[in-house]
């Protein structure tokens, strides 16, 4: 029995080593010229969106870069969902959020805000050719809003009075599509955003309603970074004074004429909307997304397999404590939905440990724990499936448990496990798509962003699906080849 403690110690030490190594990864934030990470929404045109070369552009982006230049600091921009951005700021994963964010008393309790940089308000939009144009027509209907926005607050404040229900989405695109498809009767949105979207060809029009909840957009900053607020305010004053501010706004909203907004639309939209045209113009972005997906998959499989084997072995050591640890590990991490685990690690844990966890690292930890738990379960099962007579025969010859396990049981168990490993690799590859919730620019997130710009959901998702199928086919071929080699 004493020998087994050696293995347990090794497993625990290795496990801790992996995780502490990842978490303690230093952040190169405090350099001479400070770099601040600013989280943004993926699609909130004209404040942030991708142009037809999939370059991220918008009023927010140009403005923060102008401010940074004026004040001599650097910004790193991160595209995630609005909701995700807010959570990341709360978890101190980023230094600020600039996403057409209204300054509200509630938010001011949690974050520090810059001076207002844009005045907006909530408007209603309805289907271009529909009959509904007024608030009073919404009784018994459904209204789409974006999670956590001022528009959502407004919709909720009047929904009793006008008798409608609300449905929330994480992306503006989904909000608009829900109205265009007729599932929702109307949506509420910030005025400049709505104007821009309509002007660039979206099938909606402004409803008959006065702009409500006039509000100011500000940049939210962690209360731990008062220096950044000062810099932003100083920079904002400078760019307003120099006229750069007006130039930026005009660049995106134009002078209000139809001809001008049409021109803007052309700059944004893909030159060809055929399948192959879209494939050609988005190839670079899709390949970059694929690259990220492949990286996540390979690193994820590596760590998950390592942890899975170690935990699975712990589960068969003839020691109650070791088995308890393994069973608990499998129970918890196999039981938690991957998305909950990802959000917990990325936006939950940093609040407690006070250190940022980069999205990629959080993604890998998530995969390691979740896929590792599944791997541990079938490693444990595979070893258990080896005839007990094998262990008895080996022990009868005087071989200690570890030697019997290594030389006799594991080689036979591994053969049983091979198909499960292949299966798990494929699942891991697919599960990386869930990590798009962390704002990782992998294949799925790339697809979301392209679609947010060009609204070509069917064609782009077909491309994304085909890319997944191709790499899964390649992975399956590779695995089968390995399997034949092992079982030969």
């Amino acid at each position: 029995m004493r020998r087994h403690w050696g293995i347990i110690g090794l497993v625990v030490a290795l496990g801790l080593g992996i995780f502490s190594g990842q978490v303690a990864k230093p952040e190169p934030v405090h350099a001479a010229e400070k770099t601040y990470t600013i989280a943004m929404d993926t699609t909130f045109p004209p404040f942030e969106f991708a142009d037809k070369n999939n370059k991220r552009v918008g009023i927010d982006i140009d403005l923060i870069e102008a401010i940074a230049k004026a004040e001599g600091f650097k910004v790193q921009l991160k595209a995630t969902s609005f909701n995700g951005a807010v959570q990341e700021l709360q978890a101190n994963q980023v230094d600020g959020v600039m996403a057409g964010m209204s300054i509200t008393p509630e938010r001011k309790k949690v974050f520090a805000f810059s001076d207002p940089y844009y005045q907006s308000g909530v408007v209603m939009a309805v289907r271009k050719n529909g009959n509904i144009t007024k608030l009073s027509q919404l009784r018994g209907k459904r209204v789409a809003v974006k999670t956590g926005t001022a528009s959502a607050d407004y919709a909720n404040s009047i929904k009793k009075k006008y008798g409608f229900k609300t449905i929330t989405f994480d992306d503006s695109n989904n909000v608009y599509q829900d109205v265009i498809s007729g599932n929702s009767a109307a949506c509420f949105e910030d005025k400049p955003v709505m104007q821009y979207a309509i002007a660039t060809g979206l099938g909606l029009k402004l409803g008959n309603m006065k702009m409500a909840m006039a509000n100011d957009y500000g940049i939210a900053v962690s209360k731990a970074e008062p220096a950044l607020v000062k810099k932003i305010n100083a920079g904002l004053k400078k760019v307003r004074k120099s006229g750069e501010y007006n130039k930026i706004v005009e660049k995106y909203l134009g002078n209000g004429s139809q001809a001008d907004t049409d021109k803007k639309a052309k700059e944004t939209n893909d030159s060809s909307s055929t399948f192959f045209g879209l494939l050609k113009s988005n190839r670079g972005a899709l390949m970059a997304g694929l690259g990220e997906t492949v990286q996540l998959t390979i690193v994820g499989i590596l760590f998950a397999t390592l942890v899975g084997i170690l935990v699975g072995l712990l589960g068969v050591v003839p020691n109650k404590l070791a088995q308890g640890i393994a069973t608990t590990f499998i129970y918890i991490f196999r039981g938690l939905p991957l998305m909950v685990l990802a959000l917990f690690i990325y936006t939950g844990v940093p609040m407690v440990i006070g250190t940022k966890i980069p999205a990629f690292v959080a993604g890998i930890i998530t995969l390691t724990l979740n896929e590792g738990a599944y791997t541990a379960a079938f490693v444990k099962g595979g070893i258990g499936a080896v005839d007990v007579g094998q262990m008895e025969a080996a022990r009868s010859l005087g071989l200690p448990w570890t030697k019997a396990m290594r030389r006799v049981i594991l080689p036979q168990g591994l053969k049983i496990m091979v198909p499960s490993f292949i299966n798990q690799f494929i699942i891991t590859l697919k599960d990386t798509s869930i990590l798009s919730i962390l704002g990782l620019m992998e294949l799925t997130q790339t697809g979301k962003i392209i679609i947010a710009r060009n609204m070509e959901g069917f064609k782009i998702w077909t491309m994304v699906a085909l890319i997944y199928l191709i790499i899964i086919t390649l992975l399956t071929w590779l695995s089968n080849w390995v399997q034949r080699r092992i079982q030969a």
Binding site: D387, G389, Q390, E392, A393, A394, R395, S396, L397, G398, L399, P400, K403, R407, V408, P411, Q412, K415
Partner: protein, 245 residues
Amino acid sequence: MTTRIEMKNVVKKYGTNTVVRGVDLKVEDGEVVAMIGPSGAGKSTVLRMMNGLETTTSGEILIDGIDIAKPHVDIDKVRAKIGMVFQHFNLFPNMSVLGNVTLAPTELGMMTKDEADKEGRRMLDSVGLADKVDAMPSTLSGGQKQRVAIARALTMHPDMMLFDEPTSALDPEMVGDVLGVMRKLAKQGMTMVVVTHEMGFAKEVADRVVFFEGGEIQESGTPEQVFEHPKNERLQSFLQKVLEA
């Protein structure tokens, strides 16, 4: 004469179910003991206790005078001195015949790879399988498998051998080969405990026959005493059934 195995009032319970009820048994050096009795009598459990594959609920088991249930005893060292042969052979399917035979002595540092290969080939030759050295276990017949299992145990140079129904899983025509090897071993003076249903073998080879039923030793004696003049009623009816069959 030295005592190799000594069991003192050994009891084994599974929950409330008592399968071995106070067994006392001594096996002397060079002795061949056959354990007979109906299925479920506890013979195999008693045999498996002798090398610690089964734990005892109470009582003592001394191997060469050492109580193997004591916590400081290195059970692996004790087992290295006791060869065990199973009903279902339990060869390692992931290695060749020679690999099976040489694994333990090399892993335990008793022999170098070359020494173990040489000794393994010698043992395989002694069980009549010199030509199967490189074969994989799955290609062998049952009788051949069991002879490899015996050679595997013998390569460790054990002081005693335990056989758990070594011929029960074999086709009838294979039984003779395996019993032949065991007969030869007995003649060479190996200490052997054999759980068996082969009454002919027990009669011919054993120095002593022990009859089990209901988890107890009902009768024990020379083959002549047990088979020709059984005193115990249960033994009498057991023999009647076996011999009629």
